[in-house]
Subunit: 387 residues, 2 copies
């Protein structure tokens, strides 16, 4: 009966993230693969209190956390989003089922089959999956330590490239950890204005800065920008609560697409998130503690990796986020992963984040977010044994 499957279903790319999430189920694997936020940072007690509050009005019509709600999202949450993002009004904020859904909606609202879309090389796997469902012409632009090579993009635009949109993770990119520099953001904004494409800036990691100073979002530099965010790293990913804040002409289309996708995001998740996020006293303490957990882990993993692999490894010390990216002289990271899994340790080979045969073959992504410093040191020992 497989003949009943649509072309789309038959051609959907294989599910790297899915396989990664499955590693969760094996507790003896030390996984640097999955990108799971540190569970120790989840504000469990405060969220339990929030759940009590939003489920408090038994049996009345006021139990909004249990009833159908508007597709756009819960008003209190949209107001919070507008308050924390620059140049944003609540009416522009669409609450999504995680920022993964935001990507799905934005790409489907913009991209027709064959449209050119610019992405960073390497790029977030989930974004590539959502984007590829729209059958675009992918244009991959290389990165360096300051993020996307905007000069390379500018040359391609001068040569005639006319993309619908450009996808970037501007802060602590997944997978490289690189942050797009201020100068390049200004240049990229000018290119978006000049050539009329939309910058899709996906910012799950900006909140996890533990060194250096914040760089303004591109939405402050151009009206050709749509910004995605999430509570996944801020509170907890299991809520599946994210948002998209874009220009007015895009909003209605996003809402209509979302309505056909899932009507609206979990009311319970939204109300719990809104209750915690709106508690300014709690959040200022939480945000003061959060990046420190990641700094300790980032430094532990970076030190262990550079000591273990020496000159063979090119790796940049991170200022935030969840990932380290490495290039390993003469090492095929896919073959390495096979051996690593036997040693009960996991990471993501570079080829997963690229498109095109052989690209990223000597590269790999390592998450420092999930494990404790002691576990990270043990994981690097296993990695070295497998290399």
């Amino acid at each position: 009966m497989e003949r009943l499957l649509s072309t789309r279903a038959r051609t959907t790319t294989s599910s790297t993230i899915r396989d990664l999430l499955k590693l969760l189920e094996q507790p003896d694997v030390l996984s640097l693969a999955g990108g799971l936020p540190a569970a120790e940072t989840f504000p469990v007690a405060r969220m339990r209190e929030a759940a009590q509050r939003v489920l408090g009005e038994a049996g009345t019509y006021g139990s909004a956390a249990l009833q159908y709600g508007p597709t756009e999202g819960v008003a209190a949450l949209r107001e919070w989003v507008a308050a924390v993002l620059p140049n944003a009004m609540p009416e522009q904020a669409l609450i999504t089922t995680g920022s993964q859904q935001g990507l799905d909606l934005v790409f489907h609202a913009l991209v027709d089959p064959g449209d050119a879309v610019v992405v960073e090389a390497p790029s977030y796997v989930g974004a590539l999956q959502a984007l590829e469902a729209t059958s675009p012409e992918l244009v991959m632009i290389p990165m360096d330590g300051d993020g996307l090579r905007v000069d390379v993009l500018a040359a391609q635009l001068r040569a005639g490239l006319r993309p619908k949109c450009l996808y970037t993770v501007p802060n602590f990119q997944n997978p490289t950890g690189a942050t797009l520099s201020y100068e390049r953001r200004v240049e990229l904004a000018a290119l978006a204005d000049r050539y009329g494409f939309l910058v899709v800036e996906d910012d799950p990691y900006g909140v996890l800065r533990f060194r250096g100073s914040r760089v303004p979002l591109m939405r402050t530099m151009t009206e050709h920008a749509v910004t995605l965010g999430t509570v996944s790293k801020l509170l907890a990913p299991g809520l599946r609560v994210g948002w998209v804040v874009g220009p007015e002409w895009l909003f209605g289309s996003l809402v209509k697409l979302k309505q056909a996708r899932d009507l609206h995001t979990s009311s319970l998740s939204q109300h719990v998130a809104a209750d915690v996020l709106s508690d300014e006293t709690f959040m200022s303490g939480h945000l003061a503690r959060l990046p420190g957990v990641y700094r300790t882990r980032a430094d532990a993993l970076y030190t262990s990796m550079t000591e273990a692999f020496g000159e063979r490894l090119q790796m940049v010390a991170p200022d935030g986020g969840m990932f380290l990216w490495g290039r390993f002289d003469g090492l095929d990271t896919n073959a390495w992963l096979q051996r690593a899994v036997r040693e009960r340790v996991a990471f993501v080979p570079g080829t997963s984040f690229h498109r095109g045969e052989g690209r990223g073959r000597d590269e790999a992504r390592f998450s420092f977010a999930t494990l404790t410093p002691a576990q990270l040191a043990e994981a690097v020992g296993r990695l070295r044994a497998a290399a």
Copy 2:
């Protein structure tokens, strides 16, 4: 900048459900439109207890209700689904963000542009929206008091129709309230086997039977069936937890599509639902009480409507579900709705559930689920004033 929108975004049909959900926001409107389950039936206290339990393991890696989880869904919930559905294994059950997402995934996994898809006339608006995103050739088959006219379908199949799938709400259909008879289910199953199409049976309302006896699901009659369900009417819709149980050849495609859509459904919602549903003592009491609330309301609305509109109205007394469907001799229900809204009462005109100019013009759907019997009587008074 609207030129950046995709063809898909520009052609998405206008959002009837969205507009309906917005009526929520006006408390003085007596809405028979929205299809909101009776909030009084939500097991708020038991769900609050569940939230406490699943958020109980502070700061440990065990806080599964807050961490990323597998795309397929939480194991305990998949096991519950397999236990309550006939011929189902946990490995076949995909947990979705409401059954709306199940529809989105199933249609995208099956339908290529131009593929023939059979739907009931009239049909659930949200299913039509999800389906139309795949650009099918819609084939609408009329209904009567025993559900889909399977004889009409059989004639079209003999004449050469070869659909990919057929969408049906077999129990207490939305919008007509009709239940597909046992004999027709057997016939339809035989047609699915013979002509090789998949029956997509969407069963949110089967649990709300308050008279007569249950008719077996089509999945017991053919392997050409995929079954969708939801906790929306069983516990509460705000959780956005549903499921799809289909044949093995379909499962992998659904999971891959879902992964690109939203990674997975809210872990918090899933764990709360699993905790309540797995409590057999609680659920047997809940299920014993639940249909009675709807019976009282259905009878109240049916009696008021038939008294108020007399011979002008054709309407069938319901055995379950949430909706009454009426045909009004010589009344344009769209024009009626305009006047009704001024009287602070709302319903859904029949044309919303049809495709093709003018179809369903003298018909309308009335939900008896949301309001109390006294409010229902008041609503009918306003409807009569507006007619």
